[in-house]
Amino acid sequence: MTVAKTGLSATGLRKYYGKGTGLIRAVDGVDLKIEPGETVAIMGPSGCGKSTVLHLLSGLDRPSEGEMWLEGRRVDEMGERQLARLRREKVGIVFQAFHLIDELTAQENVEFPALLAGRSPKIARRRATELLDRVGLADRASHLPSALSGGQRQRVAIARALANDPVVLFADEPTGNLDSSATLEVLRLLEDLHASELTIVVVTHDERIAATADRLITMRDGIFVDETRLSGGSSGRLGSLFAVELDA
């Protein structure tokens, strides 16, 4: 296999839990290649392993088998310190549950990754101000998460994920906890980021979010069963079934 110096790729990615008769194959052989600037959405029913794939790709978890590469560097063999650096400098992660720090303001939450990366407080603050402005929350900078709506919290979380100019943004069900209007706020933001050619991998149940992607991957029982270029047609074994789901 040739390794691209840019983008994100994975080969034979597997993640197992338990052993013997209790063995669970959460991810059971996934191959993936994502080009720089591409937005990929992963959809599928609950428990199909899509969040696990995202956790593996973003360095939040380690695979049982398989290879992962980011910008020509092998991720699956990295030590904990290298993984920490990867999460700090190369990837941004957005969670369904936001995971903001309760006692820090929006601004402090956003500048936190920059401080972890050793940036000066002044630079971190300036960057946080820019990002909050970009996500439309400049006037909420001094608010605590508890004083923000769900959509606003998720936008703060997205701003935080962008604090260190990541190569890839991973979003795990970013609208899973949001109501309709908040979902639209996040949707617009992801469209903007897509337009800015940031590489994005998003796991979602929401077809509106998936519709913003260049490519849509469908997962079932730990494997990719369908891949759709949104500009092109559907392919794969369960392509037709996926189409039915979308209609529903």
Binding site: A84, R88, H99, E103, L115, L116, R160
Partner: protein
């Protein structure tokens, strides 16, 4: 009914199985609390029983009489005493002389009592080490031997002649050293007059040989009365005598009790400090579990449990932990109590017999049950008052926000940034940590101060005659050892409890920091910093507090300051212990994938 009992038991068992680490820590904390309480209670019995035991072992006299001067007329008074009504039997008079004793660079005026090599029917001193008097040898009263660091086989010079120490013994006839003081002032040369102190037994011939012109031979008579309880009344008739000293067994017992009183008070205060420290651990642990309990209450109610059943389950859960802890604590306290409750100076005491009563046991169990009730009470009340959905959705209090500290932290390196922010989230826990570490250090410094005092105060000057005052040295070492061991165990348990509670509480912010790229080292450093922020001032405050404590216990006299090296070592050890212990949960978390740490967050 049977089904309900089975259900309750299953709920309790499953709850205990869910978090074995917490269960173990809770049991250890309760064990430490109950052990300490047991030791504290055992101290109450230190003074009374040991004297009685010694008196019984030595066939102690009811009344002892001694002329103030060894003149023939005074000795005649002793003869009259033997025939007084109420006197059942007597032994002696035994010859008493006052030679200068030198050993190990010390020089004192001893009281040498001449004895037969065969046992006396009254006041046969109980030999705790070595043998009874033989020609060429002497036996030394235990407190004096301890003070002069003498053991069987050593040699001392008495009246210019060398004697072998054959044995160490105790008696109930006279107060223990340093209160064994003869009334007579003796010219020891060079114009110095002194009172003899410290009892030595020698053969009759040897004792007589030490008599000099300036310190003539004296005698001591020991009586048994038909009614020992009347001994005080018997001696009162001689209270105005200028020529005869007469004292009762009650006088000696009271003197020994008085002698060990300051020490006992000190131990009781130390024990109270240890109790405070011990109770701090369960408080921290129980406090840490409360948030999770509320969610569990919601879960139980959601599946149909009544508030009463919830309360019973919670109470039983803590009761089991408390009773296990109390059981282990009682056993540990029972075996350690004799060490603490060993006799005061010079008394044999109840060796091997724990001074623990059923009342003490009841108190300890009551404390453990009270802790269980307290721990179950708050979530039970919440169970009754909170709706099921609210309980299920319960999240812990939002941590405190300290804008100034949050801003100031941005200028610090990452571990300090994390540490300062973690520390500022829960000020009450930080205060508890500070107080807990301060108490720990206070007690360590107090122990060091007592030890330093013993080392620095060789009470007998080699050049001068003096009456040394260093009571209870005979059992100080054993007691200090027990206290030190309990202290170390408690300090470790406490540090573990605080570290555990802080790490549980910090799981979310640290998990987020890890997801955002903080390394395991930075996280571990952050947690250590969060604990060291209150621990260091606590440890520093503990130094003057420890010295003040010793000073207060010794009735205002200045405490001996341990060497700077020891104090610095104490500070370093306390800080290092907290640092090392806090690294453990951080290391455990580091073994788990970041996502699990983040998703297992309970806050």
């Amino acid at each position: 009914m049977r089904g309900r009992i089975l259900l309750t038991w299953r709920l309790v068992a499953s709850s205990l199985r869910r978090r074995p680490g917490e269960v173990v820590l809770t049991v250890v904390a309760i064990t430490a609390t109950t052990t300490t309480l047991m030791l504290g209670l055992a101290l109450h019995n230190v003074t009374a029983h040991p004297y009685q035991t010694t008196r019984s072992l030595t066939s102690g006299p009811d009344v002892v009489a001694m002329p103030d001067r060894g003149s023939p007329s005074s000795v005649a008074q002793l003869d009259a005493l033997e025939h007084r009504s109420g006197v059942l039997s007597h032994d002696g008079p035994f010859p008493v002389s006052y030679p200068i004793m030198t050993t190990n660079g010390s020089k004192i005026l001893a009281i040498v009592e001449g004895r037969s090599m065969s046992p006396s029917p009254i006041d046969q001193p109980y030999v705790t080490q070595g043998t009874w008097v033989r020609p060429g040898g002497i036996v030394i009263e235990r407190s004096l031997a301890h003070e002069l660091s003498l053991a069987p086989g050593d040699h001392v010079t008495l009246g210019g002649n060398s004697f072998r120490v054959d044995g160490i013994a105790v008696t109930a006839a006279v107060p223990a050293y340093p209160h064994t003081v003869d009334e007579m002032n003796i010219d020891v040369g060079d114009g110095v007059w002194n009172q003899a102190t410290g009892l030595v037994w020698a053969t009759d011939a040897n004792a007589r040989s030490f008599a000099t012109l300036s310190a003539p031979l004296n005698y001591i008579l020991e009586l048994k009365l038909s009614n020992p309880a009347t001994a005080s009344a018997f001696t009162n008739t001689y209270s105005d005598s200028n020529t005869l000293s007469v004292w009762s067994w009650q006088d000696v017992g009271q003197n020994d009790a008085e002698q060990s009183k300051p020490f006992q008070q000190g131990l009781l205060i130390a024990s109270s400090l240890l109790d405070l420290l011990a109770i701090a651990s369960p408080v921290v642990i129980v406090g840490g579990r409360l948030a999770e309990r509320t969610r569990r209450v919601g879960l139980l109610k959601a599946v149909g449990a009544t508030p009463r059943l919830v309360a019973i389950v919670l109470w039983l859960e803590y009761l089991i932990l408390a009773l296990v802890g109390a059981g282990v604590g009682l056993a540990a306290g029972y075996f350690a109590a004799p060490l603490v409750a060993n006799p005061g100076a010079g008394l044999v005491g109840g060796l091997g017999v724990a001074s623990v009563s059923w009342t003490d046991v009841g108190l300890v169990v009551a404390l453990a049950v009270a802790l269980a009730m307290l721990a179950a009470w708050i979530p039970s009340i919440r169970a009754a008052r909170t709706s099921t959905t609210s309980a299920l959705a319960d999240s812990p209090r939002i941590p405190r926000r300290r804008p100034f500290l949050a801003a100031a932290a941005t200028h610090l390196p990452v571990p300090l940034l994390l540490g300062l922010r973690l520390a500022s989230r829960r000020p009450r826990r930080m205060l508890l940590t500070l107080v807990s570490v301060a108490i720990t250090t206070t007690t360590i410094v107090a122990v060091l101060s007592v030890r330093a005092h013993e080392e620095l105060a060789p009470s007998v000057s080699p050049r001068q005659f003096s009456i040394p005052y260093n009571p209870n040295t005979a059992n100080t070492d054993a007691v200090l050892l027990v206290i030190t061991v309990v202290l170390v165990v408690l300090a470790v348990v406490n540090a573990l409890a605080i570290t555990w509670a802080t790490s549980v509480d910090s799981r979310k912010p640290l998990g987020v920091a890890r997801a955002l790229g903080a390394t395991a080292k930075q996280l571990s450093g952050g947690l250590s910093t969060a604990l060291l922020i209150p621990a260091v001032p606590g440890a520093i405050a503990g130094i003057p507090l420890g010295l003040l404590f010793v000073s207060a216990v010794s009735h205002g006299s200045r405490a001996t300051i341990p060497s700077a090296l020891w104090l610095a070592g104490t500070l370093l050890c306390v800080a290092a212990s907290i640092g090392i212990l806090s690294a453990i949960p951080a290391r455990i978390e580091a073994q788990r994938a970041t996502i699990y740490v983040l998703e297992s967050d309970i806050g």
